[in-house]
């Protein structure tokens, strides 16, 4: 069983590595990701938001929905853990000195 799992893992890894061969080269300016929106952000983000860090400008302003629901997801995780795990101690009046 362990050998089968190792074989499946190796095969999946090999297929994934084979898939990366179709990726554009690292930092290629002609790649699809760098030709549509990235040029708009690099040209206009500082002028439109006055934030020198483009990552912060994109995360906080242009892609605000993404950041907002990331926060909501974390908030829901905290809410779920509190509501599932938190135990109120049995109220013993003698112990409360």
């Amino acid at each position: 069983m362990k050998l089968l799992a190792l074989f499946a893992t190796l095969m999946t890894g090999a297929i994934l590595l084979y898939g990366t061969m179709d990726f554009p080269a690292f930092g290629d300016p002609q790649s699809p990701a760098a030709t549509h929106l990235a040029t708009y952000f690099t040209e206009n983000a500082v002028r439109e938001t006055h934030v020198p860090n483009l990552v912060t400008a994109v995360l906080g302003d242009y892609r605000g929905y993404d950041t907002m629901f990331e926060t909501v997801v974390i908030y829901c995780a905290g809410l779920a853990v509190v509501s599932v795990l938190r135990k109120k101690k049995p109220s013993v009046p003698e112990n409360k000195s």
Partner: protein, 160 residues
């Protein structure tokens, strides 16, 4: 495995003077660095998530070096819950305020210019700052409370 657990429980590993003194000295600087990462997110790598995690890790470090009661003296459970709610509310509230403010769009911070005229571009920069602070507060208190609840079996007393 059980034997090792019993041994460590008896010896109280972590209750060492060197570790406690080092943590006592380090924690204020860690928290200051977390605040710096949040506030300086406009100019350098960082922002709400990263700074919030650093701030939360400082409470985790206090819990590990001392115990959970000691850490809860500095950040009580009630304050922690209020901060996590306040952080999430600061983000969503700012976004909603943009929408209800004189016909602006949801999450379009330049609409807040009509509330307090600083200029729409300055408001876009300042709105990012406000939501980063909200994210930082929420991530800090939630990561600390996750550790405390999971580590103390939901009782929030002694901890590990």
């Amino acid at each position: 495995m059980r034997l090792l657990q019993d041994q460590t429980a008896e010896q109280k590993l972590g209750e060492s003077l060197i570790i406690q003194t080092a943590v006592r000295i380090l924690v204020p600087f860690i928290q200051l660095f977390g605040l710096y990462v949040i506030v300086h997110g406009h100019y350098s790598p960082g922002g709400g998530f990263q700074g919030g995690v650093i701030l939360g890790a400082s409470f985790v470090l206090l819990t590990l070096a001392f115990d959970q009661k000691f850490a809860l003296k500095y950040m009580s459970e009630k304050a922690n819950n209020i901060l996590s709610n306040a952080g999430a509310l600061l983000f969503t509230g700012t976004a909603t305020l943009c929408a209800i403010c004189y016909g602006g769009k949801f999450l379009d911070y330049s609409a807040l210019d009509k509330l307090l005229p600083l200029g729409p571009i300055a408001w876009r920069s300042f709105g990012i700052f406000v939501i980063e602070v909200g994210v930082g507060l929420a991530v800090m208190s939630i990561s600390a409370s996750l550790f405390w609840l999971l580590g103390s079996n939901g009782e929030m007393d002694e901890g590990l």
